[in-house]
């Protein structure tokens, strides 16, 4: 459908006003909201993700596209009340206890949402118990944690250990990231994956949830 291609194209240009208008028109034309989401918005974001991975575009363009995606998404959300919003899976994300840095975590949330995941963002300074309780309550399959200080990194191990203690580590996977975090650290604490950046986090999420 032409209008969906146009939504995708304008999202890629980062034109949030046009995406808003076109999404509104698509809804008025009684196009299935799931199709508007998949073939319009997520289609556009997947092109953006691919271009970002290939270094054809950079962070500002991704974020402009994300704003446009949200402009469309906010109109579709009310239409999904009576049915499940189609997603690739639920992910709980947050910055660990004691840490207030959230820019990286916000970017991860945006990229995951753009890839079709249902993201529950707990914000910053999140206790280990809150990560686990929320994941259980929401039936999430993945916990994504961010830390930017060497003093707060250990909270990630606490979350991993909590999952093990409650026999949840097979059901709920963990991915970690942040400036002081390394693959070696992820392995040491028993996290399931390490994401170097926001783009990598999407790849990790897809791998972990597909397996």
């Amino acid at each position: 459908m032409e209008i969906l291609k146009e939504i995708s194209a304008q999202l890629q240009f980062g034109d949030d006003e046009k995406v808003f208008e076109l999404t509104k028109q698509a809804i008025e034309q009684k196009i299935d909201p799931q199709i508007i989401l998949a073939d319009g918005l997520l289609n556009g974001m997947s092109v953006i993700s691919e271009q970002f991975r290939n270094h054809d575009i950079f962070l500002p363009e991704v974020l402009l596209a994300a704003k446009a995606m949200y402009a469309g998404l906010d109109q579709l959300k009310p239409l999904f009340i009576k049915e499940e919003i189609p997603t690739l899976g639920k992910i709980v994300i947050g910055t660990v206890k004691g840490d207030l840095h959230d820019l990286g975590k916000n970017l991860v949330g945006i990229m995951l949402k753009g890839a079709g995941f249902d993201v529950i963002d707990l914000g910053k300074d999140v206790s280990p118990e809150k990560f686990v309780e929320t994941a259980v309550k929401e039936n999430a399959k993945l916990i994504g944690m961010s830390a930017l200080l060497t003093t707060t990194m250990p909270m990630m191990k606490t979350v991993v250990d909590l999952l093990k203690q409650n026999n949840l580590n097979d059901k709920i996977k963990t991915v970690i990231g942040g400036a002081p975090i390394t693959k070696k650290y992820a392995e040491e604490i028993g996290a399931d994956a390490y994401a170097f950046d926001a783009a990598k986090s999407v790849e990790c999420a897809k791998n972990l949830l597909n397996n």
């Binding site: 980062g14 950079f58 962070l59 500002p60 363009e61 974020l63 402009l64 994300a66 704003k67 949200y70 402009a71 206890k97 004691g98 840490d99 207030l100 840095h101 820019l103 916000n106 970017l107 945006i110 200080l149 060497t150 003093t151 707060t152 400036a179 002081p180 390394t182």
Partner: protein
């Protein structure tokens, strides 16, 4: 004695090429109009909202020994461990861009204005770094005094959390300098708020004391690598 240093916002506005580099755009790339517009807007916002302030205080080697050791979690070998004993002067500093700019970044993200929020955040981070560079020049000029040239003497900054100097040294630094008086607080995890704040020590001495190889164990995982650029600028220009 604690001294307040005036930081003029116009003097800490970062260069556009530094902003684009920090946003992940490689040097020499063509910058699209919508990104140029974002940059202009973020610079304007920063000029309106930032409230930079700064304090400094000279400390003795004895006192800095305690600050450097902190809670005793430094790497065994760290560049500053070799550098500061050779200094002529050691000056603690704290600089902040103010709470307003951090709050604004959060508000922009809450309104889904991610690109602008990220850009303002980048401008504020770079401006904080630029403030520290201004302080380095200020301290250098202060100690060079009336001499016609600095004869190869200079002040360079070092901060806890980098290059083997454990971040929990912030606690001792805070107890000496009291940056709370310019609105900077430190939580249990040694996180400073407002986020766009920098603290550390300015080490003044012959520039040769600042030269070191980036071959420490922690260098391997370092993403910043700012020491390499700095050494290049000072020793090879």
């Amino acid at each position: 004695m604690i001294e307040s240093v005036k930081i003029i916002t116009e003097k800490i506005i970062p260069l556009i090429e530094d902003i684009t580099l920090q946003q992940g755009i490689p040097k020499g790339s063509v910058i699209k109009d919508n990104i140029k517009s974002l940059i202009e807007k973020s610079l304007s916002i920063f000029q309106d909202e930032a409230e930079p302030s700064c304090i400094i205080s000279e400390v003795s080697q004895n006192d800095f020994d305690k600050i450097f050791v902190g809670e005793g979690n430094n790497e065994n070998e760290a560049p500053l461990k070799m550098i500061y004993p050779q200094a002529d002067h050691l000056v603690l500093f704290a600089v902040t861009m103010g709470e307003g700019i951090s709050r604004l970044v959060t508000e922009l993200f809450n309104k889904n204005d991610f690109a602008l929020g990220s850009m303002v955040d980048t401008v504020a981070s770079l401006a904080a770094d630029k403030s520290v560079e201004l302080l380095e020049n200020y301290i250098t000029e202060k100690f060079v005094g009336n001499k016609l040239t600095n004869n190869g003497f200079m002040a360079l900054s070092y901060s806890p959390g980098y290059c083997g100097w454990n971040i929990n040294a912030q606690k001792k630094l805070f107890s000496f300098l009291q940056p709370q008086q310019i609105g900077i607080s430190l939580n249990e995890s040694c996180l400073m708020t407002p986020l766009k704040s920098v603290t550390g020590v300015l080490v003044y001495g012959n520039k040769s004391i600042h030269q070191f190889d980036s071959s420490f164990s922690f260098c391997f995982n370092c993403r910043a690598q700012s020491c390499i650029e700095r050494n290049e600028r000072i020793f090879n220009h």
